[in-house]
Amino acid sequence: MSHNPSERLVYMANQIGKFFQSQGQEKEVAGVAEHIKKFWDPRMLKTIYAHHDAGGAGLDPAVKEAIGKLKDAAVAKEKA
């Protein structure tokens, strides 16, 4: 497996995505977002947000959406 940091995180995120994909559509995006929020440390989040900003290559669609939501929430929180 690659040791390029963002590639590794993309892989991990997609792996999480595959589990929640099987949990039904309405849970998919929310499930991924919640899981990542619960278990990833800030620097991992920062790296994946940056990757998302740069187009999010390799992220599965639902995972991409989930990360986008997390990122928006984080930005909103910072502003508040």
């Binding site: 497996m1 040791h3 940091p5 590794r8 991990m12 792996q15 999480i16 595959k18 589990f19 994909q21 099987s22 949990q23 039904g24 899981h35 619960k38 278990f39 990833w40 440390d41 800030p42 620097r43 991992m44």
Partner: protein
């Protein structure tokens, strides 16, 4: 302190609820039906002379010493084999009995050496005691007749005499002292379940013999020591007792090896351990143990133990011995320096599953409160983290549901990816006992483990699946249960979320999840899956036990969830005999998880982002806590390579040897500026360390361990720490040097703090443990006596949660370059990375790691038994010896990871569980080929290790 003497009641406890009253020597006594007269007498305080009876095994009635008279009955029945009956009037001492007993003893002694003064059992010999008890004064037969005692008789070789067998490293067998009471034989059968011993020959010629007249070492014997403990004479004796003499005091403590958590009496002479004797009141082990706990404690005084702190600037320098203060200050300066330069989050630590709860708690406290971040993780990451995730999601707690006693009520036992007879031997023995009584057995494992077929045990179903297909198989089992109408609907409606159940049932019923559809993926016969599912669902109390073969996969968490689903669907939760039980690897894995070792959770499994929880800890610790989860071990390594993580404090773990993809770990460790290792030995991780803090053994400190049943048990100090400090004191010293004071005088004060902060521990205290012996959490207002079985009246989370478990194939696939699947495991005599067991006589059973390969695969590659072979994966390569074996299926190879030279983890990749990043040890695509000896990597590694272990000679200052 004195020697703890446990009462031997002569025969086992009867479980009957019906009570019977009788009279013994004029005293009335009430006991459960089925109790022997011998036991009833002992309960009334009268010890009837006995030799062949002991309460660990069933009575046999061969020595005829325990005779009694019963009014209205003819003759003199043996009290050990005669059950009580209502209204019996028993006499234990009459003229007739006295005479008979003397006669029996006289015969025994006439064929027994009279070297009592110099005998190792002197002071602890039941034959001696009984001679005294019956008043034997002379032996009319002399002892020059036909005998087993002397090597020669009248100048000729005595054919009846046999030499001592000293082949076992821990005990000897001296046939000249044997009274053929068969206690050893029964202990080996009934307690251990190995059936290694038999009585060969008849009458005067009968002998105890391991296997077919083999030596102990050459036989099936697994060296558990049950026979030694059962032997009333010096025939089977610990070598340590022969060498040192009888112990004079003892303390009850807990084994520091595996998650069974056997209780032992550490029998001492001064500060020297004479022997470890399993404690009958130990609720996990009930007086039994395995070779590791009973015998393999010699590492505690091994010459390679490091007793002084050491430091160095860079890892190519030799170590320099310094004082504790110097080491603490050096480490503290480095860590604070790193934080000043790279930020607060640039350091972290790893807690140990081998250390006590109190020590683990302190390390996570130091990291969260002293380092100011949540970069704390534990080696449970690499073994049972999926258990935490899976069981918390479905049931609401991160722990097994039963106590070990529960197995006595199981009717169907399903063992998944676990090898209890090797990895959890005492529980394995208890399970085998139940199986011999008729419980049914289902084994789900790629290998033909011992349980599949061994003495008097045969699995009803063995599902030999391909590594990596657990989820497919478990979902197929669920498919059968749902589609054949075997669901316990009442249970599900009452206890679980019904609509989630329906979604799940609809999913598992899909054709793609049928045994027939997954046969191609898993390689398992669909009929066997159907049969196993029917048996588990309808065979009575069904219990599931699982191990690392479940968790160490990329779908580890999903598999745990699938297991929980099965138990809920069949109503196998919430009472004795059923449940979902992870068999934990190390002695305190459960405890280290409970104590807040995970980066996202405070003690008691509460997420760090919860304000109310954090408030509580902040108030007690007087600091502000970081609300964001920290790094997990694999993420620490990644960040280290990336350059944002620079300092690590590792207590009692050898991450370099135990974590996957060794080359990656080496790279990560070498990128750090300060690695602090606290351990007994210069382990492999220490090769990359800058500070070494000496650790202490479980014999040298007070504390508690929590075993796989959630049972909290005391560890008691029986000798002063050779390194001068217990591990908790070392952590406090390091914390202080970093400007974070933690004040405790004794580990009990740490437990009080844990109890004050953790809802499932509020009732736990050393006082309570003193009173109850041990207690299973949750122990609080609701469960003041603890909780042997969980989810009795309902699930901890409220309604049980069914979760869909879709099978996702691992990305680690076989192909033309790597056509075989490697799976890893452990064996009985060695423990984990082997740092302790390799430093004991246990190496006679397992000198090195070998590669098990099926004859078919071996032949294709021209490999013969014992050849050096090269094992290659995408991650790396190593070499080891081949063992040709049909235990593994064609296409699968197997090895252990106990020895650093093999470095099996050079091979394992860093694929991991989707939810917890628990590494996928159990599946690696590999190739095996012929080889001439150690690989270049092994040689280079060995060289580096040698170099790194140098300790600078101490230069005495000139006067």
């Amino acid at each position: 302190m004195s020697l703890i003497h446990e009462t031997d009641y002569g025969t086992p406890l009867s479980k009957s609820e019906k009570m019977v009253t009788l009279t013994i020597d004029g005293q009335s006594i009430t006991v459960p039906e089925g109790t022997s007269i011998m036991r009833a007498a002992m309960e009334a305080g009268t010890q009837i002379p006995k030799l062949c009876a002991t309460d660990m095994v069933d009575a046999f009635g061969s020595c005829r010493l325990c005779l009694v008279e019963v009014e209205g009955r003819a003759g003199t029945p043996a009290s050990c084999t005669t059950p009580v009956a209502a209204g019996l009037v028993v006499h234990t001492q009459t003229e007739r009995l006295k005479k008979l007993r003397k006669g029996v003893m006289e015969l025994y002694i006439s064929d027994h050496p009279l070297d009592c003064l110099t005998c190792a059992a002197n002071g602890d010999c039941e034959l001696q005691d009984m001679a005294g008890a019956v008043g034997l004064r002379d032996v009319r037969y002399g002892n020059q007749g036909e005998n087993h005692v002397f090597a020669d008789a009248c100048g000729e070789a005595n054919p009846a005499w046999l030499p001592k067998d000293e082949s076992n490293p821990y005990f000897t067998y001296d046939p000249s002292k044997c009274i053929v009471c068969s206690r050893c034989v029964r202990a080996c059968e009934e307690v251990q379940g190995t059936f290694a011993l038999t009585i060969s020959g008849r009458g005067f010629d009968s002998r105890v013999s391991p296997g077919m007249s083999e030596s102990f070492l050459g036989s099936e014997c697994v060296s558990c020591g049950a026979c030694v403990q059962a032997c009333p004479t010096a025939t089977l004796t610990e070598k340590s007792v022969i060498e040192i003499g009888q112990p004079e005091h003892s303390a009850v403590t807990t084994c520091a090896y595996c998650g069974v958590g056997c209780a032992f009496k550490a029998e001492m002479r001064g500060e020297e351990v004479v022997r470890m004797v399993p404690y009958k009141d130990g609720k996990a082990n009930r007086g039994h143990s395995c070779v590791k706990g009973r015998f393999a404690y010699g590492y505690a005084t091994h010459k390679e133990r490091i007793l002084k702190p050491m430091i160095r600037e860079t890892i190519d320098q030799p170590w320099r011995e310094v004082s504790y203060d110097e080491a603490f200050n050096f480490a503290a300066q480095k860590l604070r320096g790193i934080q000043a330069k790279h930020g607060r989050d640039s350091i972290g630590g790893i807690t140990s599953s081998r250390c006590t709860n109190e020590e683990t708690y302190l390390v996570q406290k130091l990291i969260r409160a002293g380092f100011g971040n949540n970069n704390v993780d534990t080696c449970a990451r690499v073994c049972h983290s999926p258990t935490g995730y899976g069981l918390a999601t479905t049931f609401g707690t991160s722990a097994g549901t039963q106590d070990f006693d529960s197995v006595e009520d199981s009717d169907v036992i399903m063992v998944i990816g676990a090898n209890p007879t090797d990895a959890h031997p005492v529980f394995g023995s208890r399970m085998k006992k139940r199986l011999r009584q008729g419980a049914k057995l289902i084994v789900v494992d790629p290998r033909k483990i011992d349980l599949v077929k061994s003495a008097h045990i045969k699995a009803d179903y063995h599902l030999p699946l391909l590594p990596g297909t657990n989820v497919a198989i478990l979902t197929a089992l669920a498919h059968v249960i749902v589609t054949e109408g075997l669901v316990n609907e009442t249970f599900v409606r009452e206890r679980c979320d019904w609509s989630e159940f329906q979604d799940w049932a609809e999913f598992v019923a899909l054709e793609k999840n049928s045994p027939e559809a997954i046969a191609g993926i898993s390689g398992v016969d669909p009929e066997a899956i159907r049969g196993a599912a029917r048996l588990y669902a309808k065979g009575g109390n069904g219990a599931i036990y699982y191990g690392l073969g479940v968790t160490e996969h990329s779908q580890g968490s999903t598999t745990v969830i699938a297991i929980a689903n099965l138990a809920m669907a069949t109503g196998n939760i919430g009472r004795r005999g059923v449940g979902v039980n992870p068999l934990r690897g190390q002695n305190n894995v459960q405890g280290s998880c409970d104590m807040g070792s995970f980066p996202h959770e405070l003690p008691g499994y509460r997420h760090i982002s919860g304000d109310a929880v954090r408030d509580q800890f902040e108030a007690m610790w007087n600091v502000k806590l970081n609300p964001e989860p920290g790094l997990r071990i694999p993420n620490m390594f990644d960040s280290a390579i990336e350059g944002t993580f620079k300092g690590l404090y590792v207590q009692g773990e050898d991450i370099l040897q135990s974590d996957p993809n060794t080359t990656h770990v080496v790279q990560a460790l070498s990128s750090m500026e300060c690695v602090i290792v606290q351990d007994l030995f210069l382990n492999e991780t220490a090769n990359y360390a800058h500070v070494f803090l000496p650790g202490s053994t479980f014999l040298e400190k007070d504390g508690t361990f929590t075993n796989a049943e959630r049972r909290i048990q005391r560890v008691r100090k029986v000798m002063s720490p050779l390194n001068g400090m217990a591990d908790w004191e070392v952590t406090i010293g390091l914390a202080k040097a970093m400007g974070f004071e933690m004040k405790y005088n004794h580990p009990s004060e740490i437990m009080d703090e844990i109890a004050a902060l953790t809802p499932t521990f509020t009732g736990v205290s050393y006082q309570k443990l003193e009173e109850m012996g041990s207690v299973q959490w949750p122990c609080n207002e609701k469960f003041p006596e603890g909780s042997p079985i969980m989810h009795v009246d309902g699930f901890v989370r409220g309604k049980g949660k069914f979760v869909v478990t879709e099978y996702v194939a691992t990305d680690e696939r076989t192909g033309p370059r790597f056509p075989l699947l490697l799976t890893t495991g452990r064996i009985l005599s060695q423990y984990n990375v082997g740092a302790q067991t390799r430093r004991t006589e246990n190496v006679v059973w397992h000198g090195e790691d070998v590669l098990e390969i099926h004859p078919h695969d071996a032949e294709q590659r021209g490999i013969r038994d014992g050849d050096w072979v090269r094992l290659t994966s995408r991650a790396g390569e190593t070499t080891l010896h081949a063992l040709i074996s049909e235990r593994v299926a064609p296409g699968v190879v197997y090895t252990t990871f106990h020895h650093p030279l093999t470095q099996a983890n050079v091979i394992t990749t860093d694929y991991s569980d989707w939810a917890t990043n628990c590494p996928e040890y159990k599946v690696t695509a590999v190739q095996v080929s012929q080889s001439n000896g150690p690989s270049d990597w092994q040689k280079a590694y060995d060289e580096q290790a040698r170099n790194s272990r140098r300790i600078a000679p101490v230069v005495e200052a000139a006067e």
